[in-house]
């Protein structure tokens, strides 16, 4: 079922809070808070309404495959006897998972049809998950569809990338910056790699799809580190992101090593919670809530309160977003990615005048690393100070030395199967220090090369031992930039373990922040999700 989308979606906006502004919705894990912001010195950034989806997604995909940018049409690149590898984005995209059929399924089915027509027999499909956890059978079926799964998985031709399989990883070269380029051997030895991407935010895609997604610790450590992250201002802005610069250098090495990549990038709109349906009010502006929205919201709040955390988690994790395809382009990576980024910006960018003293954010139940899982405290940090903080172009939304106030329950909870190294990182490393550089210097190697974590990454469904470090580095730019970080409504001990300050209400948090930013600070609330990116003057 397709959701109805406004014919002329309104762009994002900045609302100056006055006395008539209603309480504002803050996401708060598997729940919500409504908060009044101080009138006269607060503003709220709202995302744009969902752009119109493509009328005929299958047709658009077909068109893109036949009319690629700076490359021959896909059928022309396929021939019998060739080795073809189709790599695709993993469970971390899009967020939340989208309704069936998933875009990857639509794209892969067409690629496979063309391959079959061309008589290609040696086809492998690889979930390009780098050091993320393996996808389960159910998750793979959701991403590629049952037909593809049943055709390829039983024969072992559809599988998860394994960055710790010594036989199936190769070093393809070194960049001028002395960065080793590690790559999946099957992909490296293929005549053609078709990469199927979903570009949810501007960080995704481009050379990062392959240079990161099909790499391993030997390659990733050159850009997944504190120094790179602190020099990426922001990592959502490719022009000023050292993370991307490094990936682009690696992309060149891949190209020079003869890896031929046919990049298919897609973008989706902002239709995260649906235009109608039970969560529709979450992507509406509060003063436009109808009586029905209000009643539904109050009912939902009451229901969530009565239910258990586990149950609420289950309910929210089962939400499938009615995302629609807004663009699809294929061909040579850099050219394709330019268009993709423009399309992402078209949906996400909101112009904002000047910085603020305090940035507030309500963190939702999901981030890229807890799909069907638990959002542990480290992921809370990563979502707030990594992703939300970096959703800016130009200058950070909050001034240097300012405060970030995040709202999230931040429970001392971890998924024992998905995040085993996170537990030890939290209990052992963060108990010692929260300084990213010190953590990197003293602990990273040990966790990264730990046999037990590697075993769990390869044989179970665990994120790699080094992954919690990357989560912490993701917030390194924010940690260096900010004066203080406060979490509202979180488990005090868990919050303190991370070096942040706990507050039970937003009012308390503002009071605490006044130590850092003075008594009448300016406040900006980033009303995310649906996703927005601030274009700060």
């Amino acid at each position: 079922m397709k959701d109805k989308v406004r014919p002329t979606p309104r762009p994002g906006m900045v609302l100056a809070v006055d006395r008539s502004t209603p309480p504002i919705l803050f996401h708060h894990g598997e729940g919500f808070r409504t908060e009044r912001l101080p009138a006269g010195r607060s503003r709220i950034i709202y995302p744009a309404e969902p752009l119109k989806g493509l009328e005929d997604p299958e047709g658009a995909i077909h068109h893109a495959l036949l009319n690629p940018i700076n490359q021959d049409p896909l059928p022309a690149q396929l021939r019998p006897g060739m080795k073809l590898t189709i790599a695709f984005d993993d469970i971390s995209l899009p967020l939340p998972q989208m309704r069936r059929p998933d875009i990857r399924q639509l794209v892969i089915e067409q690629v496979l049809e063309m391959a079959a027509a061309a008589g290609v027999e040696d086809v492998h499909l690889i979930a390009a998950l780098a050091l993320h956890r393996r996808m389960t059978e159910a998750e793979l079926r959701h991403a590629v569809g049952d037909r593809v799964y049943d055709a390829f998985a039983p024969s072992g031709c559809l599988y998860n990338h394994d960055a710790e399989d010594p036989d199936n990883m190769v070093i393809l070269g070194t960049t001028p910056h002395d960065e080793k380029v590690q790559f999946n051997r099957r992909a490296a030895e293929s005549d053609l790699v078709v990469y199927v991407n979903i570009n949810l935010v501007s960080m995704d895609g481009g050379h990062k799809s392959t240079a990161t997604g099909l790499s391993g610790y030997q390659g990733l450590r050159h850009h997944h580190n504190v120094s790179t992250m602190q020099q990426s201002k922001s990592f959502m802005d490719q022009q000023r992101s050292e993370l991307h610069a490094s990936n682009w250098r690696m992309g060149k090495v891949l190209h020079d090593a003869g890896v031929k990549i046919f990049q298919i990038e897609t973008t989706v709109n902002n239709n995260t919670f649906g235009v109608d349906g039970p969560l529709a009010m979450l992507q509406k502006r509060e003063w436009e809530w109808s009586a029905r929205d209000r009643a539904a919201f109050m009912g939902m709040q009451a229901g969530l309160k009565l239910s258990t955390t586990q149950m609420n988690r289950k309910i929210f994790q089962s939400w499938r977003a009615p995302y629609e395809l807004t663009s699809v382009q294929a061909g040579e990576i850099e050219a394709v990615h330019k268009i993709t980024t423009e399309n992402v910006y078209a949906q996400h960018l909101v112009r904002v005048e000047g910085q603020t003293d305090i940035l507030t954010m309500g963190l939702p139940y999901i981030c890229p690393y807890n799909v069907n899982s638990v959002m542990n405290p480290i992921l809370v940090m990563c979502l707030g100070l990594g992703y939300f903080f970096n959703l800016y172009r130009g200058r950070p939304l909050v001034r240097e030395g300012g405060a970030v106030i995040m709202s999230h329950p931040t429970r001392w909870e971890f998924h024992p199967v998905h995040h085993p190294s996170y537990i030890d990182f939290f209990e052992e490393v963060l108990a010692d220090t929260t300084d990213p550089a010190e953590i990197e210097a003293r602990y990273e190697r040990r966790f990264a090369e730990d046999e037990w974590y590697i075993h769990l990454y390869r044989k179970s469904y665990a994120y790699h031992g080094v992954h919690p470090f990357y989560m912490w580095y993701w917030g390194a730019h924010a940690l260096a930039h900010l004066g203080t970080v406060i979490i509202v409504g979180g488990d005090a001990k868990a919050v303190q373990r991370m070096g942040f300050r706990p507050a039970s209400t937003l009012q308390d948090a503002l009071e605490i922040a006044s130590d850092t930013v003075g008594s009448a600070p300016t406040i900006t609330h980033i009303h995310n999700p649906p996703i927005l990116m601030a274009d700060v003057n």
Binding site: R141, V374, F414, P416, P420, I423, E451, S460
Partner: protein, 793 residues
């Protein structure tokens, strides 16, 4: 008076002084040879110190039970090294002190508790060559078994006297007795031989000896009665659970011998009280006086009867004490709030005498020589300088109010207010409390609880032990606080008056000089508290410091090996749950429910079997795998690893295994679980010992290919492994959760209990083992039933 010149003249030639005008004590004893028994005891050590320090060239022959080390070594370790000699050591310097000991102390192997004293000819000659024999050896514990008390206290002096008579020796024999030979009586108890006085109990001491020996034999026989042995075995099983045959056997035997001991203690107590004595000690001492009087022949005997001997008043230093004596446990129990009340007569006299006064009196008696007109001398305070029971309680209350003991949570413990009820009432109250605690403990023991809840059991047990101890104190010592006898000291004071000023200075035994307030508050209580090793100041980090220390020890690089149990130690699951998961994994939904229901219905009988014998249980339960395809089990187990095992794992336990490996220890998993189930855990351990099923044509037969390592066989497995690898078990660590793992835990030097079940929690607390509480990760997916996740269709 001519000064004796010991270097020039043989000791034998020196005249003994019988005249009433006393020589200076040191001079009278100088160069004499004294045999002393009981010198490893409190009074004996004090006496040796005084003689060595004050009497020039005195020769001391010490009769000491050889033990494992021999008399000389024991004398060195247990007497000479004692801090009572610090003063002399300091005054002389270490070298001169060692020389002095070397020259003046001779040790002989002997035991007053056996016939012939266990002496060789040289020993017999040496003892009979002495001028003076002071017999101070005694079984002083108030709760000795009847026959021990009889052999040592009654027959000890008789044997000595017999030996001296046989050898034709006639030294001055000084027997240390006790004032309480007077029995639990009111009024005056004079310094006269029992035979002559009103305190004489007309008994044949020989019959009492025979009776006590017979009693030992019948009790030992009775304890081996099948019904009794059955009872002991049941109690052992209740205490340990399915700990395996050797552990249960050892426990059963321990319970049997403890029962015999208790019976003999009770026999002593009841025999003593039936004759009007407070306990077996006083009773046997009284018989001993009679027996010595009967058997002494021509031997000159003086009996010295001290009352309750406590820490030194001034010599060699104030407050010296050896071992925990009568009043100390009560005082510490009071300070810790354990004894909330105690029987006694508030105005009653508590007859206490500092040990240095007794030692000085003994020196004076020895120096004076035998005096047929004064065959008995009492060293007591009650008649001339009474110390009232309520005075002690008030002083102690005040002192503990100012210097409280701290509990585990760093809270000062307020001292209780005693109301001096009757002994019967206190005993009844305590017994009622004990019954209640017993019942609660039994109930808790039946509940399937573990970890922090099981700690309640340990707390209850601790409380029960406290009550038990309090009850013991009240039963044992209550008689003393209720004693209303007044022990006369006329002879003692006459002896005192005959001393010159110098002797009064250096051999003070006048009980009138004791300032009780000063003695209790400034001398005795500080000593007792220091000896009791109780917490006298808050430690700052409540409770945790000990645990942290133990953790550091366990993870020290010096350790060799770390052995782990699996179920409830590393993962919160068991073989039944794993079976449920594997059996349902490939079943349609309706059959899953049926199978699980069937297993659940069987749960109680399975649990009971498991409690009886773990091996039997596993053998029985694993029959269910009959016909299971080997390949499929391996494949499904890999899925189960993520779906069940890891979700039920304790992350802290896994971290601990890895910490051990990082510290360079060898890690071993010892479990009764099946090999294919634990296979995915292999990278965590260096070595895995588990159960294996026999195979036949690609399926499992349901029979075990090898005995699953359970209870005692776990300890064996570990021992074999350690031997093969050249590792030391005393430098090893073992982690387990249940009492059936006791042999494993006991096999290593560093046992750690994880989420212990009640029985193990109690044992761990008693033995001071490290107790860890490992939890599942908060956020773990919860499974109500052990059914595998539905397969995607």
């Amino acid at each position: 008076m001519p000064t004796p010149q010991p270097t020039a003249v043989s000791i034998r030639e020196l005249p003994l002084k019988f005249d009433k005008t006393l020589q200076v004590i040191s001079e009278a004893l100088a160069g004499r040879r004294l045999a002393i028994t009981g010198t490893t005891g409190f009074l004996g050590t004090a006496l040796v110190e005084r003689l060595l320090r004050c009497v020039p060239d005195v020769q001391l022959v010490l009769l000491v039970r050889p033990g494992r080390r021999g008399a000389d070594e024991r004398i060195h370790r247990e007497i000479i090294r004692n801090d009572v000699f610090d003063r002399l050591r300091h005054e002389l310097g270490q070298t001169a002190f060692d020389q002095l000991c070397e020259q003046q102390i001779t040790g002989i192997n002997g035991d007053v508790g056996v016939d012939g004293l266990g002496l060789d000819n040289a020993g017999r000659d040496l003892i009979s060559s002495c001028d003076i024999v002071i017999h101070s050896a005694a079984a002083v514990a108030f709760d000795n078994p009847l026959d021990t008390a009889v052999e040592v206290n009654l027959l000890g002096p008789v044997r000595l006297v017999q030996l001296l008579n046989e050898m034709g020796a006639s030294p001055h024999f000084i027997a240390v007795s006790t004032c309480y030979v007077a029995g639990s009586r009111r009024g005056n108890a004079a310094e006269e031989p029992l035979l002559d006085g009103p305190m004489y109990v007309p008994l044949s001491w020989r019959e009492e000896v025979e009776a006590s020996r017979r009693r030992r034999i019948t009790t030992e026989t009775q304890s081996r009665d099948p019904a009794c042995l059955e009872e002991f075995r049941n109690r052992a099983r209740h205490e340990l659970g399915a700990a395996g045959t050797p552990a249960l056997a050892a426990k059963t035997e321990q319970l049997r011998s403890r029962w015999v001991h208790d019976q003999m203690v009770e026999a002593g107590r009841s025999r003593a009280s039936s004759l009007g004595f407070p306990d077996a000690y006083a009773f046997t001492k009284a018989l001993a006086e009679t027996a010595v009087a009967e058997t002494k022949g021509d031997l000159q005997v003086t009996t010295v009867r001290p009352s309750i001997i406590e820490s030194t008043y001034s010599e060699p230093v104030p407050g010296w004490i050896r071992g925990f004596r009568m009043a100390e446990p009560i005082i510490i129990g009071y300070g810790r709030g354990l004894l909330t009340d105690f029987p006694g007569i508030p105005q009653g006299v508590l007859d206490v005498i500092p040990v240095d006064l007794v030692a000085a009196a003994l020196c004076a008696v020895a120096a004076r020589g035998p005096d047929p007109s004064r065959p008995v001398i009492q060293v007591a305070s009650g008649a001339v300088n009474p110390f009232r029971f309520n005075q002690l309680v008030d002083l102690t209350h005040r002192w503990f109010s100012e210097n409280p003991i701290y509990d585990d949570r760093d809270q000062p413990i307020p001292p209780p207010n005693w109301t001096y009820p009757g002994r019967g009432r206190v005993i009844r109250q305590l017994k009622r409390l004990r019954r209640g605690l017993d019942a609660s403990e039994r109930l808790l023991g039946r509940l399937p609880i573990r970890g922090r809840q099981a700690e309640i059991s340990a707390n209850l047990d601790e409380r029960r032990e406290q009550v038990e101890r309090a009850l013991g104190y009240v039963e044992l010592y209550g008689a003393y606080t209720e004693c209303e006898a007044l022990f006369g000291v006329e002879r003692l004071l006459e002896l005192w008056d005959s001393l010159d000023d110098n002797d009064k200075e250096s051999y003070c035994f006048d009980p009138r000089i004791i300032d009780w307030n000063h003695y209790v508050a400034d001398i005795h209580l500080p000593t007792v508290v220091a000896q009791g090793r109780v917490k006298t100041e808050p430690t700052g980090r409540a409770g945790s410091s000990r645990q942290q220390r133990q953790r550091a020890q366990v993870l020290s690089p010096k350790r060799h090996l770390a052995a782990f149990d699996l179920e409830n130690t590393i993962i919160a699951t068991n073989v039944v749950v794993a079976y449920g998961w594997l059996a349902t994994h490939r079943l349609p939904i309706n059959e899953r429910t049926r199978l699980i229901t069937k297993v659940l219905l069987e749960a109680p009988s399975l649990l009971a079997l498991d409690r009886r014998d773990r091996s039997d249980f596993l053998r029985h339960f694993y029959r269910r795998y009959e016909g299971a395809p080997v390949k499929q089990m391996a494949e499904d187990s890999r899925t189960m690893f993520s779906d069940l095992i890891l979700t039920q794992a304790f992350p802290a336990a896994i971290r601990r295994v890895r910490e051990h490996r990082a510290a360079g220890h060898t890690t071993v998993l010892i479990t009764g679980a099946l090999d294919f189930i634990v296979d995915p855990l292999r990278p965590l351990f260096d070595h895995i010992v588990c159960a294996e099923l026999a195979q036949d044509h690609g399926t499992y037969t349901g029979h075990l290919a090898s005995v699953p390592p359970t209870s005692e066989s776990r300890a064996e497995v570990l021992r074999d492994f350690a031997n093969a690898e050249g590792l030391s078990l005393s430098e090893s660590v073992a982690y387990a959760d249940s009492a059936s793992d006791l042999p494993l835990l006991e096999a290593v030097g560093y046992p750690v209990t994880v989420n212990p079940e009640p029985r193990l929690a109690i044992l761990a607390r008693k033995r001071g083992w490290l107790i860890e509480h490992f939890d599942k990760a908060q956020g773990s997916p919860r499974k109500l039933l052990p059914i595998s996740a539905r397969q995607p269709t």
